[in-house]
């Protein structure tokens, strides 16, 4: 269940090499690719709280949407610089995470789950009724986005968007990776595994969980900002409970609490949806439902868990 060791392994370059390969091999899929990166970032933020922190939440889309709207409103009202929008979204979502987390992390189990749902619902209600700022159910259209660093303008083919999102994901991945491998990460995993013992050895369990939660919320907010900037649109669907559910599905599909599950899950999920959902959305929902049930019953580790099992078998045969 534990993640990569602190030292970088050669295999960890694979996702980034693949991302560059996609640019050359399938240039028409760049917009979809950018969307995959955004969902990877969102799932990565979820992995930090759900996988490492053991905090089951159904409300993470609140922070994603809050970041999306922060970036959108800032660009419409003041300044369309993408990096400024990104920073503002991270800060806003992080602060919202700190404020809400301080309240909800005092509870556990069903109460906690319920509170996360209630928070998403409240943010959604506010966004849909504050029409002066958010444009209500129509959403913010044609959000202006300046060139990245004043040089790389967003183009029709999605090249800039692709590499912009890739760079942000890379930066955030570096942060999350070093976090989960640090003593901070160990304390977080400890409180997931047995919080009574963590209390007993004097670890500040609540503070650690709150810190992890706020960081994760900031990351989710950045993912939301990326979505606003690459699609030039921020809508109410970024706040819905469906998105939180989808994030959990992608995470468990890839593998929970192993860092790279957040890369595999969204990629497989979004590419499969792109193929299947175009024809019949009913079968897509059915498929994802059946898949979830099967994963929970037979393959708790997700795709990466299955890979682990295969690799171990091969090694056992060899030796």
């Amino acid at each position: 269940m534990y993640s990569a060791p602190a030292r970088l392994r050669p295999l960890e370059a694979l996702p980034w090499l693949l991302a560059i390969a996609v640019y050359f091999a399938a240039p028409s899929y760049l917009p979809l690719g950018a969307y995959v990166f955004i969902m990877i970032l969102f799932t990565l933020s979820l992995d930090l709280v759900v996988g490492y922190g053991g905090i089951v939440t159904l409300g993470h889309s609140a922070y994603f949407g809050f970041g999306a709207y922060t970036a959108g409103i800032l660009a419409v009202r003041l300044n369309g610089d993408p990096l400024l929008g990104l920073a503002a979204a991270a800060l806003a979502a992080g602060l919202l995470g700190l404020a809400t987390g301080a309240v909800i992390l005092r509870t556990r189990a069903l109460t906690l789950l319920m509170l996360t749902l209630a928070i998403t619902s409240i943010v959604l209600e506010i966004a849909s009724s504050a029409t002066a700022l958010t444009n209500g159910s129509d959403g913010l259209h044609s959000v202006p986005v300046d060139p990245v660093l004043g040089r790389f303008a967003f183009d029709l083919f999605g090249t800039t968007a692709y590499f912009y999102c890739l760079a942000v994901v890379l930066a955030c991945w570096t942060l999350v990776r070093s976090l989960v491998n640090s003593p901070f990460g160990a304390a977080l995993v400890g409180s997931r595994e047995n919080d009574a013992r963590m209390h007993a050895i004097g670890a500040p369990v609540y503070a650690r969980r709150l810190q992890a939660y706020s960081i994760s919320c900031a990351l989710a907010g950045m993912a939301g900002a990326l979505l606003t900037q690459t699609t030039q649109f921020a809508g109410l669907s970024t706040l819905g409970f469906e998105l939180s559910g989808e994030g959990l599905v992608m995470l468990v599909l890839g593998g929970v609490g192993r860092l790279y599950g957040a890369f595999v899950g969204p990629t497989v999920y979004i590419v499969a949806r792109d193929y299947l959902a175009r024809q019949t959305p009913e079968y897509w929902y059915m498929g994802i439902g059946v898949l979830l049930v099967l994963i929970v019953l037979f393959a708790r580790g997700g795709i990466l868990g299955l890979v682990d099992v295969l690799v171990n078998r091969l090694r056992a045969k060899r030796s």
């Binding site: 509870t107 009724s129 994963i295």
Partner: protein, 291 residues
């Protein structure tokens, strides 16, 4: 003053009808969560199944309203019993995340099935003519359908409370909620008790869904849309109790109706804020003992 009084009566009446439906649906969720510690987000699926089944039985098989209502409730109860034996029972010992994901998976499947069978648009329940009119009580007139909803639910609640307080089965359920290991060791067959209770809870949800089909319209995404409300009722009421969700359902039913009547622009905002405030004050809910 008279206008205010009449709107007050109207809000209380409609809120009561809504609260009764919420209670019928959520009480099963509360009992199964308290009994088995299982986070069953898919509980709304049974309510939806009840509603759709009743409509089908009435339209395709020409059954009258009441028999269709009871039959759909029975079918869903039997079906849920099979589901519990085959799938749910494997996950009682699993973690919270697994249970959440498993039941979200079930919701996805149910949404897909409902869309394939009934299409994406809301379906109205065909009501018999005697439920369509108005009933005058104490100089005011009330819609007959909602009066029937309140009466049926009240009857149901009375039966349920007597069943749980006065019968042997009820004593066994209460014992198992209080202390499962102890109940097992005095010889209660908890596996069988779980199955039966689960079926009862699902059947009640189906009854609530079918009864409320005119208030909460049947759409394929029903289990997702209503989930927040069912969970709120259970969370503020407290797990494993009968009285808790009743108070919770009435609070939410009347509170939600009142907010939507007097301050429609804020929507359900107050309900969520009140829920958060209440859960911070009492994390285990109003009548819950376990956290």
């Amino acid at each position: 003053m008279e206008a205010f009084l009449s709107s007050l009566v109207s809000v209380a009446f409609h809120g009561l009808a809504y609260g009764m439906i919420l209670y019928a649906i959520s009480v099963g969720l509360s009992v199964t969560m308290g009994l088995m510690g299982f986070v069953n987000l898919a509980h709304g699926v049974f309510a939806m199944a009840g509603g759709y089944l009743m409509i089908t039985l009435m339209l395709a098989f020409g059954l009258p309203w009441l028999p269709a209502l009871l039959a759909s409730c029975l079918i869903v109860a039997v079906f849920s019993m099979l589901l519990e034996k085959a799938l749910y029972s494997r996950l009682y010992a699993a973690g919270e995340l697994e249970q959440v994901l498993f039941t979200i998976g079930l919701i996805f499947i149910a949404v897909a099935v409902a869309r394939l069978a009934y299409g994406p648009n809301p379906l109205a329940a065909p009501l018999p003519s005697y439920l369509k009119g108005q009933l005058s009580l104490g100089g005011r007139s009330f819609p007959a359908y909602r009066v029937a909803v309140i009466a049926t639910s009240a009857l149901l609640i009375a039966t349920l409370w007597i069943g749980l307080e006065r019968t042997r089965w009820g004593a066994m359920v209460r014992a198992a909620v209080d202390n499962r290991a102890m109940a097992q060791s005095v010889g209660i067959d908890t596996a069988r008790l779980f199955t039966l209770t689960f079926a009862l809870g699902s059947g009640l949800a189906a009854l609530g869904g079918a009864l409320g089909a005119d208030l909460m319209a049947m759409t394929p995404t029903y289990p997702f849309e209503q989930l927040v409300y069912f969970l709120i009722v259970v969370a503020i009421g407290g797990l494993g109790s009968l009285r808790g969700p009743f108070v919770g359902a009435l609070l939410i039913g009347i509170g939600d109706t009142a907010c939507k009547y007097w301050v429609p622009e804020l929507g359900a905002f107050f309900v969520y804020v009140a829920t958060i405030a209440l859960l911070l004050w009492k994390p285990a809910g109003l009548f819950g003992r376990h956290v």
